[in-house]
């Protein structure tokens, strides 16, 4: 089976890969590039565990073909911390105990970061609706929402 050559940027690094025409971006991230922080919870775009940002837009990487990443800039959970410096959202998730099993956490962090970049002062309702595409079965969302709101408040204070 012939494969497609793709050149793209992932977390700021130029990256090349060969993919099958039917492979998703998530397949390539996880199976070819060993970036397993993005999770496959459903493969149908319903759970958000595979959330990444492509050219600034939040997408489910299970719904995007790997070949479509040609020439794009992809940001994943692996690029969220700067070296050993956690992103404020990551730190707040730890302080608020906003994860139990942790499988949904990378996707929720990626989605929440994208929200705060668009809207630094979201209401609780806005956070809840933005994250409505990210399923969490453990927490009931309470501590997740608090962690996002608290991060937003801190970032506004620091700005």
């Amino acid at each position: 089976m012939s494969r497609i050559h793709v050149t793209t940027t992932i977390n700021g690094d130029e990256t090349e890969y060969l993919c099958e025409a039917g492979e998703t971006l998530l397949d390539v991230l996880r199976d070819h590039l060993d970036m397993t922080g993005s999770k496959e919870g459903c493969g149908t775009g319903d759970c958000g565990a595979c959330s990444v940002v492509v050219d600034g837009r939040l997408v489910c990487s299970c719904l995007m073909l790997a070949a479509e990443a040609e020439g794009r800039a992809v940001d994943t959970i692996e690029g969220m911390a700067q070296g050993n410096q956690l992103h404020p959202l990551q730190q707040k998730f730890l302080e608020h105990a906003a994860l139990q099993c942790g499988i949904c956490t990378p996707g929720i962090l990626v989605a929440a970061k994208n929200l705060l970049e668009r809207n630094p002062n979201p209401s609780e309702e806005e956070v809840r609706y933005w994250l409505a595409g990210n399923l969490c079965r453990c927490t009931g969302y309470d501590k997740i929402i608090r962690a996002v709101m608290d991060t937003a408040a801190d970032l506004r204070g620091a700005a």
């Binding site: 999770k39 149908t44 319903d46 692996e78 099993c101 956490t105 969302y141 309470d142 501590k143």
Partner: protein
């Protein structure tokens, strides 16, 4: 049951809220879950599943699949040449790979291993299965009828009276007194029937494993599971392996809620690895998770309760019929035990029927059986309160079980916390907050047994005086943090001096599955005892160094201190100082503890919820939710609160949205998160957790398990709230908009 474990003390670490030790790797994506690991030369596995609810397998032709490039192994049931003697083990094998017939839509019939996922998928499509479709039954009441299609004959236990369809495999009975005479004393009797739909645990991580199994019988398995010792023992039993030759390592686990206390496909991965001679990674799709891994049982229940006009329950009965799925077993007996457990009753009888159907084998789901045990009982109590104009909290207090109460399922309770949760609910501002139009407030109580079980812990004092703690239960929601805290508390050392790991099956003795809310209780107990064991050794080493009797040494604040009038005036020896000279005082220092932990301490909760019902659409919105639960002692309150909130959220889903929907063809129609809709962030309000702490006599720190009880009250609490908001009693879950609308129109 040991009751002398608990002693009151001032805690330094326990009860605080430190950041969990496995936190950074879980917020950076580095934590490795079931599907996150690969091996050199690895193949991809995939499973072919029956499209029929019930069908005889007349033949399977795998020749085309085997001939495909990149396909390295194709297996069917014929490859599983070991036939387990134990019927339970034989059922697990048959569920993993169908024998002479497919018993449900999604039942595995063949599997392949190939060099890529796409080749594996193509190979599945090339396998030809010759099915003879058989009549099926997917409803519990239909399956009990005479003449219903029989899932498997010959599995009925002696407990089932004559005259029942063969699908009824078991019957259980509990209670005491004489309900009939109790009903005669009642001023009002309410008798109703209820139904609950099958729901899935809905963990976000599908089942996944990576298997190797060589011709010498040695194997390794990496797997997301709630219990890797169970996986080892079951795989060994199913495949005829020596358990000691199969090492199982638990990955990080992306949720389980009981659904990962079973083996669904691990023997298949091992068989593919054996046949191909290569490591095989097998990851289920979400569709497969829904169709072939355990949902909980659907239920059909009759309840009758008699009450005096003052609110005293005089007699109570319940009959529970639960759907076990395609194999014998089931949890109706647990419903029958739990339904009336919160109450002090003179006359109570319950019975449970386990019923086979052409659905996937029902699995444990958070307090298995208890939610459908409590929902009908708590609903009828609420209706009695409405009709007798009684306060639902006061009425529950009037009937509440307490220390010394003989429970409806047999044992007499030690110190318990039900009254404390009801009193806390009564005095909470939520109880007196105003309600608007189309809004209602519901309350309900719930009970869960909690469990202890086989547990091993090792605690090593390293040469630099730091501590390594090995336990054998996957960390499903912060248990590394709890164990680290309890070890640090007991040793008197800072939290960062202890690191806890989850050992593989070859590195630590047998541990029960992470279930029954057992881990913080039982592994915590073993951790504390392992620390005490290490402390005794360190006291001996200090005594040896000082030349005094070990009895004359105390341990506090992470150091040995001479104690008593004749001990001498030596400066304290810290754990670091003792560890540094361990080689000269007798060798390495390690404590360990092995126990079948008893005294888990039963658990109670009261939930309070406000809902609003849209009269035009029938949609139910949860406005406010408060959980009151006894934790015994909250080791890490954040994660205790998380269990309260998570259980409530799952209960909300069960009550309002979630439902396995089967077509007339016996096939599951909503095997995905789009159509099986678990609560999303915008569906829920904040969920307020109120932790009560009534110490469990069976644990050194008073800990009770907290993981499961929180899913028991929500079904009824929400049903009671909706019924009061809508002005009509709903008796079937989920209370989805069409059902609520129909109930409103029928008024």
């Amino acid at each position: 049951m040991p009751k002398d474990e608990y002693t009151s003390r001032d805690f330094k670490v326990v009860g605080t809220r430190p950041i969990r030790p496995d936190g950074i790797e879980k917020v950076t994506g580095k934590a490795r879950y079931g599907a996150d690991i690969s091996a050199p030369g690895m193949l991809w596995g995939a499973i072919l599943r029956s499209p029929h609810a019930h069908a005889r397998i007349k033949g399977i032709d795998t020749s085309k699949a085997r001939a495909m490039k990149g396909v390295k192994a194709v297996i069917t049931r014929a490859d599983f040449t070991h036939q387990p003697e134990d019927s339970g083990m034989a059922d697990i094998l048959d569920n993993c790979m169908a024998g002479d017939k497919a018993r449900y839509d999604g039942h595995a019939v063949a599997a392949v291993a190939a060099t890529s996922k796409s080749i594996a998928r193509a190979a599945l499509a090339a396998i030809e299965v010759d099915y003879e479709v058989l009549p099926h039954v997917t409803d519990v009441d239909e399956a009990m009828k005479t003449g219903a299609p029989v899932v498997e004959p010959g599995r009925q236990q002696e407990s089932v009276p004559e005259g029942y369809c063969e699908n009824v495999t078991g019957r259980s009975q509990y209670g005491h007194g004489d309900p009939e005479s109790g009903f005669e004393q009642a001023d009002l009797i309410v008798e109703r029937s209820f139904k609950t739909a099958a729901t899935h645990q809905g963990y976000i991580e599908p089942h996944a494993c990576l298997a190797t199994l060589d011709s010498d019988g040695q194997g390794d398995l990496w797997v997301c599971t709630q219990g890797h010792y169970m996986v080892r023992n079951v795989c060994a039993g199913v495949l005829g392996l020596d358990a000691g030759q199969l090492r199982v390592t638990a990955s990080e686990i992306g949720g389980g809620f009981g659904g990962k206390t079973h083996v669904w496909m691990e023997p298949t991965a091992l068989m593919l690895a054996r046949k191909s001679g290569k490591p095989v990674k097998l990851v289920l799709s979400r569709d497969e998770v829904f169709r072939a891994t355990g949902p909980t049982a659907s239920s059909s229940v009759d309840v009758k309760i008699g009450m005096t006009s003052e609110g005293k329950i005089t007699g109570a009965t319940a009959t529970y019929r639960l759907q076990a799925g395609a194999y014998p077993g089931g949890i109706a007996f647990l419903s029958a035990m739990c339904g009336f457990a919160p109450y002090d009753l003179e006359n109570v009888r319950t019975e449970g029927f386990e019923v086979m159907t052409n659905r996937p084998k029902a699995a444990a789901y958070r307090a298995p059986g208890a939610p459908m045990g409590a929902y009908p009982v708590e609903s009828v109590i609420d209706e009695l309160c409405q009709k007798l104009d009684l306060d639902p909290l006061e009425t529950r207090l009037k009937n509440a079980a307490r220390e010394g109460t003989r429970s409806s399922y047999g044992p007499t309770y030690p110190a318990i916390g039900l009254e404390a949760t009801l009193e806390a609910a009564k005095s909470h501002p939520h109880w007196s907050a105003p309600l608007g139009e189309n809004q209602g407030r519901g309350v309900a109580c719930g009970f869960w047994f909690n469990f202890g079980g086989d547990t091993c812990v090792s605690l090593m004092v390293n040469p630099d005086g730091t501590v390594s703690l090995s336990e054998g239960n996957p960390d499903i929601g912060g248990s590394r943090a709890s164990m680290t805290m309890m070890a640090a508390e007991e040793l008197g050392v800072p939290l960062d001096q202890v690191r806890t790991i989850i050992a593989d099956t070859a590195s630590l003795g047998q541990n029960e599955v992470t279930d029954g809310s057992r881990v913080t209780f039982a592994v915590g107990l073993a951790t504390i005892k392992a620390a005490r064991h290490a402390i005794e050794i360190m006291k001996e080493r200090a005594a040896m160094t000082w030349g005094i009797d070990p009895e004359a040494v105390d341990w506090r604040d992470g150091a040995a201190h001479p104690a008593g009038p004749n001990a001498g005036k030596f400066p304290p020896m810290t754990i670091k100082e003792i560890a540094a000279i361990a080689s000269n005082t007798g060798g390495p220092i390690a404590g360990h503890h092995e126990v079948n932990a008893e005294g888990a301490g039963v658990s109670f909760a009261t939930h309070m919820v406000d809902t609003e019902v849209d009269p035009e659409t029938g949609a139910v919105k949860v406005l406010r939710y408060t959980v009151f639960q006894d934790a015994g002692k909250a080791v890490h309150p954040d994660y205790v609160e998380g269990q309260f909130q998570g259980g409530a959220a799952q209960g909300i889903g069960w009550a309002i949205n979630e439902e396995y929907i089967y077509g007339d063809d016996g096939r599951l129609q909503n095997a995905g998160f789009l159509d099986y809709r678990i609560p999303v962030a915008s569906d829920l309000p904040m969920i307020e957790p109120v932790i009560l702490e009534i110490p469990n006599p069976g644990h050194p720190y008073g800990v009770r398990g907290v993981g499961e009880t929180s899913i028991v009250p929500p079904l009824a609490a929400i049903a009671n709230s909706v019924s009061r908001a809508a002005g009509v009693r709903l008796t079937s879950l989920p209370m989805s908009p069409p059902r609520v609308l129909a109930a409103l129109k029928a008024q």
